[in-house]
């Protein structure tokens, strides 16, 4: 009888063993949380404001603004960032939000390419992602994304660099523990682009990921490299129902 009970309860026990993912916000200090909660004091909102201006400014040979095609971002862009990265048919590749915006800029607006981590690309990405604030992340289901995500998952669990550490070693096994005065978070990307006090600026998730590569003394892939997109894809699935917080504030 006891064995039968155990058998019936087993799925419940399993569920209890996989705790819900916790946003980096939960690992942040009260000061950082207060800064993120205040939409005026949050310095990331300066990039969102800049992005809004850019959204409405015609650019390139097309002399068209983002708004020229997509109209009101709060309507047309709502929930969009939560679904990236995903496969883009025209590009024939999996794109993250930055890459999607870059593409639109170059092929539709026929404007000069926005370099990775440039203020304008960060501003537009932050503005678009901000329209999804509060929406749960949605992992892409298309075939190409699923295959790429599997490579990202494999990378997440693979030891790398001179320190011979996988992402998993810190962000699964040691989340919540201390590394000097830092609290190790679960490593979710739901707040990016985010304002980091360390950077004194807004930066992309790829910038943060590259810093982790450097941290374990591995060679960081270039911005936009497939390895980073694949990792981003896996991180979205791993973050499960967490909600977009852009622009988050982190230490």
């Amino acid at each position: 009888m006891r064995a039968l009970c155990m058998l019936l309860l087993w799925p419940l026990l399993l569920a209890a063993q996989t705790p819900a993912p916790r946003s980096g916000l939960e690992f942040a200090s009260a000061d950082v949380r207060a800064l993120q909660a205040d939409d005026f004091a949050n310095p990331g909102m300066l990039w969102v404001a800049r992005g809004e201006k850019l959204w409405n400014t015609p650019a390139g040979r097309s002399a068209t603004s983002c708004a020229g095609c997509h109209r009101e971002a709060p309507v047309s862009m709502k929930g969009v960032a939560a679904r990236y990265p995903r496969f883009d048919r025209e590009a024939g590749a999996v794109l993250n939000l930055e890459a999607r915006i870059k593409r639109c800029r170059e092929s539709r607006q026929q404007a000069e390419a926005l370099p990775h981590e440039s203020e304008d690309l960060l501003a537009l990405t932050a503005y678009v992602a901000h329209q999804s604030r509060g929406q749960s992340l949605v992992p892409a289901k298309d075939v190409a994304s699923v295959a790429a995500r599997e490579r990202g998952r494999e990378q997440y669990f693979r030891r790398q660099g001179q320190m011979n550490l996988a992402c998993m070693h810190c962000h699964d096994r040691l989340a919540g523990r201390k590394l000097l005065s830092d609290t190790i978070s679960e490593g979710h990307g739901n707040g990016y682009p985010a304002y980091r006090l360390e950077w004194q600026a807004l930066g992309s998730l790829q910038r943060r990921l590259r810093a982790c590569f450097t941290g374990v003394r591995a060679e960081a892939p270039a911005f936009g490299a497939p390895e980073l997109i694949e990792l981003e894809l896996y991180l979205v699935q791993r973050a499960g129902p967490l909600r977009v917080e852009t622009p988050a504030v982190r230490r």
């Binding site: 005026f40 004091a41 310095p43 300066l46 404001a49 004194q200 600026a201």
Partner: protein
Amino acid sequence: MLARIQVPAQAKRGEIITIRIAIQHPMETGYRPDHFGRRIPRNVIHTLVVRFAGAEVFRADMGSGVSANPFLQFHVRAEAGGEFTFDWVDDTGAKGSERATLNVV
């Protein structure tokens, strides 16, 4: 220079209102090296002046000890309706300005 200003659109006569300012600026300290090891020259917003109906209300003289993307908050008594102007300048001579109108009822 992009900035955000927060002034309530409307206040009662005599009411104390909160004014908040945030400006996108690196506030370069002059101590940071670039990727080639050269010092990035100091560049901070050194002066910010807030005026109401032309008269100075608040002035900030700032140095490299003020955080990047400077934020300021102070309190003003709403005596009459009018326009607040915000003007600032950095070490390169770049200027920025914003304005906000207050209605007093």
